[in-house]
């Protein structure tokens, strides 16, 4: 399959194409859509406020409360996003990790897509072509969630009870199994790579475990939010030490 790739496609200068101006414009367009939506919603809420028994002051208080509550979680997402910039470039990170998806789903999608090209995410074979295919797969996967929302919301609003009558046990077990199955598979696959990959995944897992324990022991919920960012940084720091001390095979 790799034989069809042009010499340009085999270049590993990801940021050379990942930060193209057109991509910036499209990313900012997605942010624009969210801003327009919020403005329209706020105007509509203000207009219908009296009918909903809520005053203009209470609407404003709700806005402010929501904004303040979002500061911590937003900054936690910022930290994770910055860590992923070298992999996907800024526009893709802004849209995929910052907005529509999450670090977990998007990097999983990218890794799966890279795998179908016979490459590993961020490895020596992570070329421009692999990046573009991974970006395409992330975007199509995110489109799955948005399309499902666009299709299901009107149906659920009409109160179609068929969807609600889905066996509750099925709704509990199958999503959990699909979720853990997908990530367990990706995690186990890392153990087939270099010793430094194995160290990274173990250190990251242990760090998250400690964060969750501390969060519970000290009832510090911020540690739960920041856990992923902290685990990534600790994982990468240990990986750097292990890599530079010669544990990785020469690439």
């Amino acid at each position: 399959m790799k034989t069809t790739l042009t010499p340009e496609g085999a270049s590993t200068d990801i940021l050379g194409i990942a930060n193209l101006p057109v991509l910036w414009v499209l990313a900012i367009g997605v942010f624009g859509a969210i801003i327009v939506q919020s403005l329209v919603y706020m105007k509509a809420a203000k207009k219908a406020g009296p009918a909903a028994d809520i005053s203009a002051a209470e609407l404003k208080d709700s806005f402010r409360a929501g904004a303040v509550a979002a500061i911590g979680p937003s900054l936690a997402v910022v930290l994770v996003s910055i860590a992923l910039l070298t992999l996907f470039g800024t526009p893709a990170v802004l849209v995929r990790i910052g907005l529509v998806g999450s670090a977990a789903t998007e990097s999983a999608s990218a890794s799966l897509a890279a795998g179908t090209m016979g490459a590993a995410l961020g490895g020596p074979d992570y070329t421009q072509a692999v990046f573009v295919v991974a970006f395409m797969a992330m975007s199509l996967s995110g489109a799955g969630w948005m399309l499902a929302t666009l299709i299901l919301t009107p149906i659920l609003t009409r109160g179609d009870s068929k969807l609600r009558r889905v066996n509750p046990a099925l709704m509990m077990i199958v999503p959990a199994a699909a979720l853990i199955g997908a990530f367990a598979s990706l995690g186990v696959a890392e153990f087939g790579k270099t010793p430094v990959h194995i160290i990274s995944i173990l250190v990251s897992a242990a760090t998250m475990f400690v964060c969750l324990l501390l969060a519970k022991a000290m009832s510090a919920s911020w540690l739960r939010e920041w856990g992923l960012g902290i685990s990534i940084l600790v994982g990468l720091a240990v990986a750097y030490i292990a890599h530079t001390s010669g544990m990785a095979p020469a690439a």
Partner: protein, 241 residues
């Protein structure tokens, strides 16, 4: 749900529902098109030799892993969010860890109960507030500062970070999932299936390497269903977005 149908008889609320539905859908479809346009642009504007079959193979691998969640998440969140906020939530993302807490805090601040129109409006405003904070911090701290930061970090550090970022994410995500989902039986089944598929099945039948994660997902879901404990009341599932 009954409060929503009852309140819809008020003219102004009906207008609110119409406006938010129309604009919610328009803005979401716009975001969907723009977000797909970026990779499509790269495929067609660059001469990298990417073929349709490469994209199909990647899409099938991703879809096999996630298609169950595409449908389950909207159905799960609908009763909490209501129709208007659905179009916000699945565009802004980070629903469980950011949007829902924001909505709850706002409702508590003004003493509005969830399930009432007051509660729905309060939640909607809170999500607008959360969206503005998030949009601003992403553009400033990631778009401007992050891009600058990456440009000054030494190249060898960037290379190593790129090499090991994925295992550094996946380890933490797995632990978080296992702890929050709290379904030990499902977890054990998932790891057993993953080990069998990746280290026994794939080496024996190399053609299965590409759909391997999809196979693990389907086998885990099927086994988890047939091997489920019949007496436990299942705990609510925590989702990824």
């Amino acid at each position: 749900m009954s409060s929503r149908t009852a309140a819809a008889t008020s003219g102004s609320i009906a207008e609110f529902d119409r406006t938010t539905t129309r604009w919610g859908r328009i803005t979401m479809i716009t975001a969907l098109i723009l977000s797909l346009a970026a990779p499509v642009y790269l495929v067609f504007s660059t001469d990298l030799g990417i073929t349709g079959s490469m994209i199909w193979a990647a899409y099938l691998a991703v879809a096999a892993a996630f298609f169950v969640l595409w449908f389950v998440e909207p159905i799960t969140y609908f009763p909490v969010l209501g129709p208007a906020a659905m179009y916000q939530a699945f565009m802004i993302g980070n629903i469980a860890n950011k949007l829902l807490p924001s909505a709850l805090v706002a409702q508590a601040t003004i003493g509005a109960k969830a399930g009432t129109k007051r509660g729905e409006f309060s939640a909607l405003m809170a999500i607008c507030g959360a969206a503005m904070v998030h949009v601003f911090s992403m553009l400033l701290f990631v778009g401007v500062l992050g891009t600058y930061l990456v440009s000054i970090i030494p190249a060898d550090v960037v290379d190593v970070a790129r090499l090991y970022i994925f295992p550094s994410i996946i380890g933490a995500v797995l632990v978080q999932l296992i702890v929050t989902v709290r379904q030990p039986r499902v977890t054990v089944i998932a790891f057993a299936v993953a080990l069998l598929v990746l280290f026994v099945l794939v080496p024996a039948v190399p053609a299965l390497a590409k759909p391997a994660t999809g196979i693990v997902v389907l086998l885990t879901a099927t086994l988890a269903w047939f091997l489920r404990s019949r007496k436990d009341a299942a705990a609510p599932t925590t989702l990824v977005n």
